[in-house]
């Protein structure tokens, strides 16, 4: 190759003549995941199960939390981080039931991320808490992609939303560790929602997550959900590792060295 007339530089590699290609192989959500790892350590230090609750707006996330507070009657100590674009309404509903709640108002952001949760945790005392619920922004698209440092994803789908939603929102329903079909009392009045179909669509996402139907107006239907909560807290404290199904890297190596210590 000639170094004087530049004949080794062709249109195809001209852009590299004064430069280099750096192979990175880094997850684009790497910075979020870094903060998520801090959050996860924080939860581990306090022995707290952190659950990310997701669904469309109006599927019944806050109502489920209210019913859970009522049904548990203190068997498990709860705390809640609420996420909405505006208002403190949901945090106020939780606090009205005697459970500590911090509200994140995102303004324009359509999902919670690890930084927002990290900041909210500054205002929360996790001593003695068994379960921290993070009620995400009502949205079946974006929240599923962001690791908040939590242990499990619970996705709600109300029976008035259509049993094919898991097929329409594959990323969200594939990320679910538990799918809750809410407002099941409406099944008495409608004939176009088949829980078995919704479950089949979840299975077709290669997801073995349990699918429960429940209604907060029928407390007896809450039993499998409460059992799942108790079981998950036990497993976590028994040292079984728990990370939610979020953004796995599909087998490519994550080449990243931490050059700093964590305080």
């Amino acid at each position: 190759m000639c170094d004087t007339c530049g004949c080794n530089i062709t249109p195809g590699n001209a852009h590299l003549a004064d430069g280099k290609t750096v192979e990175v192989l880094e997850n684009l959500l790497h910075e979020n995941d870094h903060v998520a790892a801090h959050n996860r350590e924080h939860f581990a230090r306090h022995g707290v199960l952190a659950v990310n609750l997701m669904s469309s707006p109006g599927s019944g996330k806050t109502s489920l939390l209210e019913a859970t507070i009522e049904a548990l009657g203190g068997e498990l100590k709860m705390a809640v981080v609420e996420g909405d674009l505006e208002t403190e309404n949901d945090a106020e509903r939780i606090r009205a039931r005697g459970v500590p709640a911090v509200q994140i108002t995102t303004g324009q952001a359509c999902h919670l991320d690890a930084h927002m949760v990290h900041d909210a945790l500054h205002d929360m005392d996790l001593d003695g808490i068994d379960v921290l619920f993070i009620e995400n922004v009502g949205n079946l698209v974006c929240p599923a992609s962001f690791d908040l440092g939590h242990h499990a994803n619970v996705t709600l789908l109300s029976v008035t939303e259509g049993d094919d939603k898991p097929a329409k929102y594959p990323v969200m329903f594939r990320a679910a560790d538990l799918v809750v079909l809410s407002k099941s009392d409406f099944l008495d009045m409608i004939d176009d929602f088949d829980p078995a179909k919704a479950e089949r669509h979840v299975r077709e996402l290669a997801n073995e997550a349990p699918v429960f139907s429940l209604s907060v107006r029928r407390p007896e239907t809450l039993a499998p959900w409460l059992e799942w909560l108790h079981g998950s807290v036990k497993s976590l404290r028994a040292g079984e590792s728990a990370t939610p199904k979020v953004q796995p890297e599909g087998g490519l190596a994550h080449a990243h060295a931490h050059g700093h210590t964590h305080g």
């Binding site: 004064d18 750096v22 329409k168 599909g250």
Partner: protein
């Protein structure tokens, strides 16, 4: 962009000419929207003249029941051989910054 700026700084580069991403079908990211957003996000940064290349990749599964592997569709992650849903996704969920072409 923060990652791009960090890596450019680590390598003493004054400009980035190309950013290569791999965005899988199950990543939760829409490549066209990302390309539009990039033209705005790169403004005023070390990558302000950079070309964005997005590799879209395949969606591949490996069956835990029969061992077969093959392509699948985002909402039908089933074994191409036995039709079972007990599969692992081996390619398709990536959201990766693959490489940067830097000018030093």
């Amino acid at each position: 962009m923060r990652q791009v700026e960090r890596i450019a700084a680590e390598n003493d580069a004054h400009a980035v000419s190309r950013v290569v991403l791999k965005v899988g079908p199950l990543s939760g990211v829409e490549p066209d929207l990302l390309k539009h957003a990039f033209t705005i996000a790169r403004a005023g940064t070390v990558a302000h003249d950079a070309r964005l290349e997005v590799q879209e990749g395949a969606l591949r599964v490996l069956c835990r029941r029969c061992g077969a592997g093959g392509e699948a569709v985002v909402n039908r992650l089933l074994c191409p051989n036995c039709g079972g849903w007990q599969v692992d996704v081996t390619e398709g969920e990536e959201l990766l910054l693959l490489s940067l072409d830097l000018e030093t």
